[in-house]
Symmetry: C2
Subunit: 345 residues, 2 copies
């Protein structure tokens, strides 16, 4: 049994389509140690659940003694139904349709388990440990640009689930009704226009149309072209690469302007690898927000005072946490719940 | 002094750019009596405030005795800053920029005043007395199609204000980035594509392009063309009129699909005069939602059970309350607040 005033301990599981990362965490030291392993998708859902549970047990053996264990947090790909904890035709997890991840993990571990969509745990991490903390806001929306565009909403200090846990899918708002096909079946989603995948796809299209000679040379030299390569070319002034970032930034700006008009939150955070190119994206993002959101026009930083609106200004910022946001968010999920329960007790 | 267990009384002010309506209300009888008068915009803000306050005093004299008066609710055009109660460059109220309506009304009346945007009070009315009540939901988004497209969000039983009271402006999400100019300065807003104004504008465009002979004949016979005329022509199978409703329905469908993906609410309600043509709009609305929202595809009524999602289904419905929604919402605003405060006490 843990002594009175023992350090709180949680375990977080960052469940990705490619990798599985599990970490033990305390608020004082953050991540104590972590286990990373490829996600054995081909072996089926139960094999992945076994890997998760074994890693949790291992971490608890290593770090449990003398600490008060509060539970396990899981960040899972979606669509994830909450509070049930069941997956519904997740595009990156073939064979998982209808699988109740929460139930299966609970059966093996017999400890408190909290589960959330991966973009939601990243938003929670950014809220508790990143920009949310440094700006002192009570609500934010986070967009994570990766293979797809994930998004999570914190409203009044709580993750917004919506009716079935599928709230906060801002990656699938329509930016261009006749735009490229998205994995979700829609055309012109934010994800189809502003993910790292969309960014490289657009570069390929420019090359195929003969409109990006510099990128074409780079691709034939290297044999491939990543978002990072395109960013480097853009930094060096390559016109094709700059056009790719302009298009991505504009799509993001339209999406964020929509979110500002609908939600009027104090903070919008952009995360994911693409954020390393924030200086390439930002001018295009802000040009769209300025012209498409009168709420932003009234409440932009430095503008709010001039327009007589009492607020800290509507902030749009790159994430402070890097690629660990998902793992950190899973770790703090059980602690965050505990904190709010304690606060209201 | 009111006796114990006295009937609760509130007064609501529906402040429109054209008309001012003030009503006395009790939960038992709903509207007791109401006063309607043109909004004296040319006489300036203080004249309008005088008209509001005189009507409130008159209604309190008529109905106050023996009842417990709980306060005045005001539904005001926006952008309205909350909690301050100040207007910011409202497009339909020239000369009101920076005017603190809440402060000026409070100065004259010395009673509790609650103020909200007009689309918010309509959403509250629909939540408490309309579809929200009949469907038993705790959250909804209401879009009101009129001269513009207003919108209000109820999340977890409460009006969502956002950081500065300007949340819930779904009328200004971008549907078509290169679409027609909106009054807010953006291009291709939902308001610029699906308001009654947009609907008649699009009919005029089709006539000018020679693509709506039936509507052209109708317009030259009548000298003008209203949304109602276009609806009637569409009901009779006029192709141009059907094209107008198809375009409006598609824009609405894209907007609602975005809201479903972002918020995953149990209910989306469409109000305003255009709703009389629900049967013309609905097929186009649902075609877009079906193809653009995988959240809807998983949770549509009748679909949720088949896809294994536990929920009542994502509902998209016409409003139950008619043109009185704004006035009713203003009336129940002080009572709704009272109810929640009492419930938590």
């Amino acid at each position: 049994m843990a002594p009175e005033n023992a350090q709180l301990l949680s375990v977080g599981i960052d469940f990705g389509g490619t990798n599985l990362r599990i970490a033990a965490y305390t608020p004082e030291t953050e991540i104590l140690s972590s286990i990373a392993t490829p996600t054995r998708l081909k072996a089926g859902p139960m094999a992945v659940v076994d890997d998760m549970c074994n890693a949790v047990k291992q971490l608890l053996e290593m770090h449990g003694e003398g600490r008060e264990f509060v539970g396990v947090g899981v960040g899972s790909p979606g669509p994830l139904e909450l509070p049930a904890g069941r997956l519904h035709a997740p595009p990156n997890l073939p064979g998982w349709d209808g699988f109740n991840l929460l139930e299966e993990v609970t059966k093996q571990l017999h400890v408190p388990i909290l589960i959330e969509g991966d973009a939601n745990v990243a938003a929670l991490a950014e809220f508790v440990l990143g920009t949310g903390r440094s700006k002192g806001v009570d609500s934010l929306c986070m967009l994570t640009l990766g293979t797809g565009v994930g998004s999570g909403l914190i409203l009044d200090g709580k993750l917004w689930h919506g009716a079935t846990g599928m709230g906060g899918e801002a990656g699938h708002i329509t930016i261009d009704p006749d735009g490229p096909l998205c994995g979700c079946g829609n055309h012109g989603c934010l994800e189809a226009l502003a993910s790292a995948t969309a960014l490289t796809n657009y570069a390929e299209k420019l090359i195929a149309d003969g409109k990006a000679d510099g990128l074409q040379r780079l691709e034939s030299e290297q044999g491939s072209l990543s978002a990072f390569d395109i960013a480097q070319a853009a930094q060096q002034g390559d016109e094709g690469a700059l056009a790719v970032y302009a298009k991505t930034g504009r799509a993001l700006g339209i999406g964020i302007a929509n979110l500002i008009n609908i939600l009027n939150l104090p903070l919008y955070v952009i995360g994911g690898g693409v954020v390393n190119s924030w200086d390439l994206l930002a001018p295009h993002i802000f040009a769209e927000i300025e012209s498409r959101s009168y709420v932003y026009a009234l409440t932009a930083p430095g503008r709010a005072a001039a327009s007589g609106v009492s607020c800290g200004g509507t902030l749009v910022l790159p994430a402070e946490l890097g690629s660990d946001a998902g793992l950190l968010g899973a770790c703090i999920l059980p602690l965050h719940g505990l904190k709010s329960r304690r606060a209201s007790a």
